[in-house]
Point group: C2
Chain length 129, copies 2
DNA sequence: GACATTGTCGCAGAGTATGATACAATAGCC
DNA sequence: GGCTATTGTATCATACTCTGCGACAATGTC
């Protein structure tokens, strides 16, 4: 369900956060779903439990998860929000999209290939809405 | 032409690399163009010259720039490549696009807003081709 | 040849990521 | 009610990375 790369320059807990956010955004993790205990997920991935705990905590702080000792961690994301993001956040988001697509172009992707990639991801992400 | 955020968790040199790649990918920096000296760009951005030098070096290693003592740094990118990227790289690229769009959805963006953002960036990036 | 310009190298301090270990709170069972 | 297992949290140590300061090396200009 989740894969991480120990060789990647991006921190493991960031990879976890991104992966979990992706699962939640795509609807594969819905509100109320339980996440594996930190020890189990850490063992499955071959990393330290603190690293998993940190990812859970960051998502908890972001309001996507809820954790409690002895009870575990569940998804409390309410993806649908009344109003869209603020202008500042929109700018940040568009910058990250621009960076990803800019990378794609530098890698030699054609415009058509990039369009199809973006379309496929949008389709996948908003499918469950 | 370039903006960086000292408060951001992503390293300054990575921001520079991403920004420069973006400018090159968008065609605002073309083959043969000279980049500002490391000291000047560092002063403009309020950072250390080594940080700029590192960004230049990484892009040099990536084959986008060429540096020489006393002469400066120029763009040698040849964006158009004979064959598209390998499957592995395509996978990495699509993952970064998916992450950016997943973030967009979690932030509350509608599907239509995401589509328009992606389309606008693709238009901007591939305009000069 | 002297000087300015430009990129590069070595080192140090600060901060961060990751991990080992111990602690605290909840649930389940007798 | 008490014991045990389960689960998240806190503390500390180690290694690594980022950033910056200073010095060096190569090129261009006069």
């Amino acid at each position: 369900m989740l894969t991480i790369s120990l060789a990647s320059p991006v921190p493991i807990h960031d990879q976890l956060v991104a992966g979990l956010r992706g699962l939640i955004a795509a609807g594969q993790l819905a509100e109320g779903d339980e996440l594996p205990p930190v020890r189990q997920l850490a063992a499955d991935l071959g990393i330290n439990l603190n690293t998993v705990a940190r990812a859970y905590r960051e998502l908890t702080d972001a309001g996507l998860l809820a954790s409690a000792r002895g009870r575990g961690t569940i998804v409390i994301a309410t993806v649908e929000r009344a109003s869209g993001p603020k202008a500042e956040e929109r700018k940040r988001i568009e910058a990250s999209i621009a960076a990803a697509l800019g990378d794609a172009k530098l890698a030699g992707l054609t415009r058509e290939a990039a369009e199809s990639m973006a379309a496929r991801q949008i389709e996948r992400l908003w499918k469950h809405v």
